[in-house]
């Protein structure tokens, strides 16, 4: 049995797991810093998410009496594993040895899986705040997943379901739907409903501590990387590394502006916006893509 070293390097280091986590944390750090400057604060250093991660790893796991221990142990791991699968399939310009026909769908499924296990972790904690947070996480999943999938399928139809770079100039509504759904996926304002600290403390993670939270932090970092890269490649058509960096950063800046400008919606308002405004617009683009207009 011979192992392809370059493939291993691809999966583990670049542009695989290590890159995903480091760049994801960097995105989070940059976001916090720029948002702070926009709010006339100094803000934490860009490296703060790394510090947080290492600190969390050094802490102990605390399991309360009400927690379902088995679920609390495995949910972070499954969520993490699902996210790793997504990272492996992610199309980065020049590096797509693992993508296959239909990998777009596998990617969508595993993204959902990671969110669902995040929510189940909240239910397992046996805390009212965590339960409400999980209910909100799942409701929000139903809200944003519909326009998200429509947007990706639109590009898929137009692009013969491959993960090659594509510029969505023809489909502005799909681009809009994709962008707004990643706000929901990343729990960023105005869709930071599942983690509304003023209402439900830390949401699903209320009872979690130490390495388990660190695991979810990794998942979050990787999802920043995955979603921003997806947008850069599939919607902004980044076909080389420099263009990819430029496209990713512009998406990140747009996310930061949204984060700074908007107040939180309630879950019913979020539903209304996703299903009755964003999804119909995205559907128009899907129909246009199917008919080839």
């Amino acid at each position: 049995m011979n192992i392809d070293i370059s493939l291993l390097f691809y999966i583990l280091i670049f542009p695989g797991f290590l890159t995903a986590f480091i760049i994801g944390f960097l995105y989070m750090g940059i976001m916090r810093k720029i948002a702070a400057r926009m709010q006339h604060r100094i803000g934490p250093p860009i490296w703060q998410p790394f510090f947080d991660f290492f600190k969390l790893m050094s802490k102990e796991n605390i399991t309360t009496k009400e927690t379902v221990g088995l679920l609390a142990t495995f949910c972070p791991i499954i969520s993490f594993a699902a996210m790793l699968t997504v990272v492996m399939l992610l199309p980065i310009p020049g590096y797509t040895p693992l993508s296959f026909e239909g990998s777009l769908f596998v990617l969508i499924y595993f993204l959902i899986m990671s969110s669902v296990f995040f929510a189940i972790a909240g239910f397992a904690a046996g805390n009212p705040f965590a339960s409400v947070g999980s209910i909100r996480e799942l409701s929000q999943l139903f809200a944003y997943e519909f326009p998200f999938i429509i947007a990706l399928v639109t590009i898929g139809v137009a692009n013969a379901f491959s993960l090659t770079p594509y510029i969505a100039v023809n489909f502005p509504f799909a681009l809009f739907a994709f962008f707004t759904s990643i706000l929901g996926k990343l729990s960023l304002p105005p869709f930071h409903i599942p983690e509304a600290e003023q209402e439900i403390v830390a949401g699903p993670l209320t009872e979690y501590s130490g390495p388990r939270v660190a695991m979810f932090e990794l998942v979050k970092a990787a999802s920043y990387w995955v979603l921003i890269s997806l947008g850069a490649v599939l919607f902004l058509g980044a076909n080389n590394i420099s263009m990819f960096v430029l496209a990713s950063l512009s998406i990140l800046i747009l996310l930061i502006i949204f984060r700074v400008v908007f107040a939180r919606l309630t879950i019913s308002q979020a539903f209304r916006i996703y299903w009755f405004i964003i999804a119909p617009l995205a559907l128009i683009d899907l129909i246009r893509a199917l008919l080839g207009w």
Binding site: E199, A263, R264
Partner: protein
């Protein structure tokens, strides 16, 4: 979906001070609420009773960290009323100026916290950045950012720093522009209105029944403001209260911001009209007031009407009863929370601008029997006597 109890507090990120609100919740809808106080009872009313009159001023300053000047003003006004003193006009103006500055920073804090509760951190940070202007103005005039300790019985302790009046006027000018900006945000910004308009609605009728005070009642269309009675220098300043008619969280914020603008006007007028002269009446070291004499003193604190009932026992009070505005505003809480969804709960609570540490009353919880009761004066006396027997 079954209903369950969602504990809101005693420790909760949305609460600045500990209070426990038991929310009976079904899904995301609140069916009812129960307010449990008693987490930071300080026993201040009791502590008044073994201090001389003048020393009580320092104690009353510490009832609240945000509106301490109003507590001392109310306490001193009461004592002066009992003694039949009319303090010098300049001292009256100084009390008004410091008080109105304090109102501005208190209202900015309140609106900022509402902004934070609706998840709009940017507005919160903007408001708190601009609040620094008024905090600095405090420091220019009195030397302190909080707890100015300006009042003494018979006047004020020190004159305001006249060299710094120009800088204060500059700060007020900047603040005036900023308040226009914030009013524009509350008027036009869809994202803010979405979370505050028609949330926590209190009708004029209900407001009359439950009689909250301060911006809460004025936002429901009732022009109740103690400043209209013309205590201190307000009688020279042509004061008219700000009234709003929406009755919701948005209107309460707008009323607060408009009151800030009005306070700026009042301070400017006061600077213009302030006469030269004495700042305090010289009083003996130990004041004696005829035993059994009593008075009720009222001022309009940022959160609403603040009442001190004072009864004399010679050289110190025999009873000081403080009715803080938050205590009166709690009565509407249950009414406002019924039927709202969880995301609106912190917004509504913040819109009342509660100050729990001023308000806290004692509750005794019997852990073994799992029952609780609010104890009365008789119970305390009984308990004290019981201890003596042992």
């Amino acid at each position: 979906m079954h209903d369950y109890i969602l504990p809101f507090g005693p420790q909760h990120p949305a609460l600045i001070e500990p209070v426990h609100i038991k929310l009976k919740v079904e899904g995301e809808t609140v069916l009812g609420s129960e307010l449990i106080l008693g987490y930071n009872h300080k026993g201040i009313e009791k502590a008044f009773e073994n201090r001389w009159w003048q020393k009580g001023v320092y104690l009353s300053e510490r009832v609240c960290g945000i509106c301490g000047h109003y507590h001392t003003t109310c306490y001193c006004n009461g004592i002066e009323k009992m003694m039949g003193l009319e303090i010098p006009e300049r001292a009256q103006y100084i009390r008004v100026i410091i008080g109105e500055l304090e109102r501005i920073h208190s209202h900015m804090l309140a609106v900022g916290i509402v902004a934070w509760e609706i998840g709009l951190d940017t507005l919160f940070h903007y408001l708190f950045r601009d609040r620094e202007l008024v905090m600095d103005a405090h420091e220019f005039l009195t030397g302190n950012r909080v707890h100015f300790v300006m009042n003494v019985v018979g006047g004020v302790r020190r004159d305001i720093n006249l060299l710094k009046v120009g800088e204060v006027e500059y700060a007020l000018h900047k603040l005036d522009e900023r308040f226009d900006y914030y009013l524009r945000i509350f008027k036009n910004d869809a994202s803010v209105k979405n979370r505050t308009k028609n949330v926590g609605y209190l009708s004029k009728q209900k407001a009359k029944e439950l009689s909250p005070v301060g911006p809460t009642v004025r936002a429901s269309g009732i022009d109740y403001d103690v400043r209209e009675t013309g205590y201190l220098a307000y009688k020279y300043l042509n004061f008219r209260p700000v009234v709003g008619h929406g009755g919701d969280v948005l209107e309460r914020c707008v009323v607060r911001l408009k009151e800030c603008k009005q306070s700026i006007e009042l301070i400017r007028k006061a600077f213009d009209k302030m006469p030269e002269g004495e700042i305090a009446i010289k009083l003996p070291h130990i004041i004696n007031i005829k035993e059994g004499k009593e008075t009720v003193s009222r001022v309009e604190a940022p959160r609403g009407e603040l009442i001190y009932y004072i009864k004399s026992a010679g050289d110190k009070p025999s009873r000081v009863k403080i009715r803080t505005p938050t205590y009166q505003n709690f009565h509407v809480l249950d009414e406002l929370l019924k039927g709202v969804s969880i995301p609106d709960v912190p917004v509504i609570i913040a819109s009342l601008d509660p100050c729990f540490s001023c308000t806290d009353r004692m509750t005794i919880v019997d852990v073994k029997k799992k029952e609780e009761k609010v104890i009365t004066k008789h119970d305390i006396l009984h308990m004290r006597d019981g201890e003596h027997e042992h």
